[in-house]
């Protein structure tokens, strides 16, 4: 299984480079290549995940050079959990694009960039040293800047410019942090770095680097004071890319990187914990309040993303095993139902020709597939009991109480109610209202319907992965990896021996 690990990056990279060669001549082939490549990634990540459940950790040594001098690719339970979730979403988004992207010209550029984005995201998840993490992060981010501008309308370009400027600033902070860390520890390997830092004890430098990383990765994750780019970028991009940015990109580039570095390399300290909690609370409140009064359906979903990212960061910030379980489970749920909602917005936009919530009505009767899947997604994000979103929010709130933070629990409940109110306000007229809209008779094709149904199904039954002995061993192991903190270095040293 170890030999399969580099193919997680090789396959999408290869498809990204093959598509431009054939793209101009065979228009239909490009979307098929992308779907096949992402399907391959899904099966590979499932195979790797089942192997990780057995062996706990897989380390691939690039060029057979032993770490710390060589470059390792490491898949542990946390990476495997993220790999399965993210590649699955990417596959469904690729299938959705087959039909959705037909209205654009030069779609081969889209599929090529999409493949690079997936390669970057997988690369971040399996990177074992911090500089490779940075390179793959840039790869995913730069293709993101391109893809946001794909429509080349005035708004898309403006959004892309804002996103690119802010993303570049974030990358600069991250690179500066890496430079400081390298000059202090003389290593780039994350496990080795963790060992050196533990031996050296706490320093001022670590605090400074923590601030740099919190700003850099916080900007990528769109935590509240750094969230300004997100509503523009997510609402202007083509719908599949909004789904990828919101469901995959901000979680891997932001949350995963924060988790890996702060928990496993630096070791969690109360200062970092409190700053994460503060950012989380601001994001939850800012996202929740700004979502009110949004008439654009995609902007509504974008602000709600900020708010939900706040929940995930809150769970990580409290840093008890139970809250981390909640955070990871909410991360899983959010990538499923938020990509679902963005795909819905795409098919609504294609059929009704508008994104304005006030102008659409009666979607449930006119577009049953989109309407009902949208209903499931929205109910799940609001936290309706049997659906996945309810359980993850419940775990986070209970974990707040358990960790003696009743105020945080109260805020989490309030924001949850806020979420319910703004979704109810916005979507009720659109879904149930009397139809005054002129619909094009064009029905959405199977390629758009199937991914939405799949995602809605998973969003509805995602609680099964919480049931002991059913499917939660990977989730439990992923939580254990985060909780073990600096034990990460020991585990990797043990696996290498």
């Amino acid at each position: 299984m170890v030999s399969l690990v580099p193919y997680l990056v090789i396959v999408p990279l290869a498809s990204g480079f093959i598509i431009p060669i054939f793209g101009k001549k065979m228009k239909g082939a490009t979307s098929i290549i992308t779907s096949l490549a992402t399907f391959g990634l899904v099966s590979m990540s499932f195979a790797i995940a089942s192997s990780v459940i057995k062996h706990k950790i897989l380390i691939y040594k690039v060029g057979n050079w032993a770490p710390p001098a060589g470059i390792p690719m490491i898949v542990d339970s946390l990476s495997a959990f993220m790999l399965v979730t993210m590649n699955f979403v990417a596959f469904l988004v690729a299938v959705y694009s087959i039909s959705y992207m037909k209205k654009y010209t030069d779609t081969w550029k889209f599929y090529s960039l999409f493949s690079f984005m997936v390669a970057g995201i997988n690369g971040v998840l399996i990177a074992g040293d911090i500089f490779n993490l940075y390179i793959f992060l840039e790869m995913a981010a730069i293709s993101g800047y391109f893809l946001v501008a794909f429509g080349t309308g005035a708004e898309e370009l403006e959004a892309s410019f804002k996103y690119a400027v802010m993303g570049t600033v974030a990358s600069a902070f991250i690179l500066l942090g890496i430079a400081f860390l390298y000059s202090y520890t003389s290593t780039l390997n994350m496990a080795d770095m963790s060992r050196v830092l533990a031996a050296a004890g706490p320093t001022r430098l670590l605090q400074f680097v923590s601030v740099l990383f919190l700003m850099g990765f916080g900007l990528k994750a769109a935590l509240a004071p750094f969230h300004a780019w997100l509503p523009y970028a997510h609402s202007s991009a083509p719908a599949p890319i909004s789904a990828m940015l919101s469901g995959v990109s901000i979680k891997v580039l932001g949350i995963y990187a924060i988790t890996r570095i702060f928990f496993n390399v630096f070791g969690m300290s109360p200062a970092i914990s409190y700053s994460l909690i503060i950012f989380a609370v601001i994001s939850m409140l800012v996202g929740g309040i700004l979502a009110f009064g949004q008439s654009d359906i995609k902007r509504l979903f974008a602000y709600s993303s900020i708010s939900q990212i706040g929940y995930i960061a809150l769970g990580l910030g409290i840093a008890t095993p139970f809250s981390i379980l909640g955070a990871l489970f909410h991360l899983f749920n959010h990538s499923i139902f938020k990509s679902l909602l963005f795909l819905n917005s795409g098919s609504i936009e294609q059929t009704t020709g508008t994104r304005d919530l006030n102008k659409m009505a009666g979607i449930l009767t006119k577009m049953p597939v989109t309407g009902y899947t949208n209903l499931i997604g929205a109910l799940s994000i609001c936290g309706m009991p049997p659906l996945g979103g309810f359980w993850s929010k419940l775990i986070i709130i209970l974990a707040c109480v358990q960790a003696h933070h009743p105020v945080l629990a109260f805020i989490a409940v309030i924001v949850s109610i806020l979420t319910l109110i703004y979704y109810f306000n916005a979507l009720t007229p659109a879904l149930f209202g009397q139809s005054a809209t002129r619909y094009t008779t064009k029905k959405i094709s199977w390629a758009m319907a199937v991914p939405m149904i799949c995602l809605a199904f998973i969003a509805a039954i995602s609680f099964v992965i919480l049931i002991p002995n059913a499917g939660n061993s990977l989730l439990k192991d992923a939580v254990a990896v985060i909780v073990s903190g600096k034990g990460y270095a020991v585990v990797i040293a043990g696996a290498l021996r």
Binding site: F131, I142, A154, A164, L175, L176, A179, Q294
Partner: protein, 79 residues
Amino acid sequence: MEYAINLFFILAGYRAHCHAPIFAHNQIIKEMADPLPQAIVLTAIVIGLSVTLLLVAVAIRIYEKYGTFDITKIDKLKG
């Protein structure tokens, strides 16, 4: 800003009176310079270049659409 960070990185790898870490016959290198920061900075420069090119391209297209570079007039996105 990127250039400042690149320079800082090179500085972090600088050691006085060192030789390049290339192994050759009849030569024993006592103090090696650290080659890693150079490789890293080279990568960072390429990344910086590509982002700059992207930004310039997008800026040109923005000028085509809005007819101005005035940031206060490029305001179709609000809220």
